[in-house]
Each structure stands twice: as structure tokens, then as C-alpha cells.
């Protein structure tokens, strides 16, 4: 009890040391995590590119197919044989390009303001 000021000083010093140690460790861990995330990104480059490729292909094709089908059914309904088919096929191509454009534009923005995807 008599040594309490000494004890307090020692405790303070030890606490300060602990804090700084923890800080450096945390920073090291953070750096390691950053590096790991980067490695993951390059490692998954192939997988990510492939998944993006699948998405682009299927979305482009699906837009055209769906629009053409809608046009075909509309023509059967109204009896205006090639009109809606041609019109909607054009729209479908535009929709396909539009969705591919959106896919191509979005990822960098998202990657910029949020954590990089794993």
C-alpha cells in the first residue's frame, strides 16, 4: 500500500507499453490483411473474369431472346406479322448492350467506395 505511487507509475508505463505494442500489432495485422486481400484479388482474377464473362454473355443473349419472344407473341395477338418482332428484336439488342454496359461500368465504382470483393 505504501508503494502505491510507484505501483501506479509502473502500471501506467506498462499500460502505455501494452497500448503501443497492441497498436503496432494491429497495424501489422491490418497490413497483412490488406496484402492478403490483394493476393486474393489477383488469385481470383481468373475466376472473377470468368464469372463476369458468363454474366455478360448470358445477359446479352437473354435480353435478345426474351424481347424477340415478346415481339413474336404480340404479333400473334394483334396479327401484325413482322412489325413487333422486328421492333422488339431491335429493342432487345439495345437492352442487351445496355445491360452489358451497366455491368462494365458499375464494378469499378463499387470497388472504389467499398471493400474490394473477395
Amino acid at each position: 500500500m505504501q508503494e502505491s505511487p510507484d505501483d501506479a507509475d509502473e502500471l501506467k508505463a506498462r499500460l502505455a507499453r501494452l497500448t503501443s505494442d497492441l497498436q503496432t500489432q494491429r497495424e501489422a495485422g491490418q497490413r497483412q490483411a490488406d496484402r492478403k486481400a490483394e493476393a486474393d484479388l489477383t488469385d481470383k482474377g481468373m475466376g472473377q473474369a470468368m464469372s463476369l464473362g458468363f454474366r455478360v454473355l448470358s445477359e446479352f443473349v437473354a435480353a435478345i431472346v426474351v424481347a424477340t419472344l415478346i415481339g413474336w407473341r404480340l404479333d400473334l395477338w394483334f396479327g401484325t406479322d413482322p412489325l413487333f418482332l422486328i421492333l422488339l428484336m431491335g429493342l432487345g439488342v439495345a437492352a442487351g448492350f445496355w445491360s452489358v454496359y451497366r455491368l462494365a461500368v458499375k464494378p469499378p465504382q463499387r470497388r472504389g467506395d467499398k471493400q474490394p470483393p473477395r
Binding site: F54, R55, S58, A63, W98, R110
Partner: protein, 253 residues
Amino acid sequence: MSEAGPAIDPIHQFHIHPIAPLNIFGVDASFTNASLFMLIVFLAIAFLMVLGTSGSHIVPNRLQAAAEMAYEFVASTVRQTAGEAGMKFFPFVFSVFMFVFFSNFIGLIPYTFTVTSQIIVTFAFACFIIGLVIAYGFYKNGMHFLNLFVPSGVSPVLLPFIVLIEIISFASRPISLSVRLFANMLAGHITLKVFGGFVAMLLGAGVYALLAPLPLIGIVLLTAFELLVAFLQAYVFAILTCVYLNDAIHPGH
């Protein structure tokens, strides 16, 4: 996988045949090989998750590590694409991801049936997802949900055109979602089978039997590739589910 007969017929593996015929009021509800493998997939997932989470050791064992990895992977995917508000749908996205992932992987084992190589399965999934998006979008945002089709900052002259395009691209989502998964699994399995058929045919072709190891090596490489595709397709399916749900949660670009 390469007996002489079926090896020549790469489509044979996708045939559905009833195991226990069952007819309810004229509806064919037989227990088929597809049902059997859906059950196997479900049991495998339940086994992994129930056993993996029952112990909760501080130092996880293998099953627990696998279960935790699956959870963290899907959770981070949902957070990144749909935000914190999307975590409401985490159980749904997790179920979809695990089901697709396990069906893809179990289907790669020879003599098994790939549930996801049936378009009706993937299409049912996609329709359910889009239905959920529409229902939740209207429930959460009311008529404001229709802003999804009206991007901001477009000149009024182009607006009707853009709205039409947006509607078409929304309508094509269930098709693209289901066809992508289905076509990848179908094409991969047919390719593997055809290469297996090459091996069998070359072995029975006299001198050309010397060439038989070539497609065999091809099968090994393709199997590795198919493993990648099996994971990627499950991942893409899950991430697109999140993207579409994100549209329902925050409509308007």
C-alpha cells in the same frame, strides 16, 4: 462412366426415371432419381451445418471450419452487394448458394445425377427469386419500386426508349439466371462424357489406341475446370440473387 453403350450417348446421364412411382390425382409425383439427389444434397448440407455448428470449439475442427467458411463467404457476399439491409435475406441466399453449390459438386461424382442440369430446377429457382424481388420491392417501396425502370439523369426524349429497354432487361433476368447455370452444368457434363467416349472408342481402334491417353488427360484437366465452374456458377447465382434483391431494397439507380 465410360461403358461401351452409354458412353456413346452423352445425354443418357440427364434422363429422369422414377424410382418409386406415385400418382396423386393424375399428377405424376413419382420419387425420381432427381428427387433422390435433391434429398442427398439436402442431407449433405444439413449434415455439414448441423454437425459443424453443434460443437462450437474455440479452435474449430474441420467440419466447423467448413461451416464457418461457408457462412462467412456468403455473409460477406450479401453485405457487399446488398448492404446491411440485405442481411434480412441472408438465410434465403445462403440456402440457395448451398443447394446450388452442393448439387454442382455432387453431380461431378461419376454415376450421380446433377440436379442443376435440369432447366426446370434452375428456372423454378430464378422465378422464385424474381417473384420475391417484385413482391418485396412493392411491399417495401410501394409504387416507388417502379423507379427501378426509370433511371435518373436521362433526357426526356430518350426516356420512353430507356424505360422499354429497362423493362426488357428486367424481364430477361429469370431467363439469363436460369439458363446460365443450366447451360454450364449441361455443357460441362456432356463434354466430360464425350471425352470419355473418345477414350473408349480410341482404345477399340487398333493402332490409334496409342492416342487414347490424350483425351484421358483432357478429362483430368476438364474435371479441374468443371470444379472451378461448379463453384463459380453457385457464386454467380448467389451474387446475382443479392444484386436483384438490392434492386428491391433500394430501387432507383
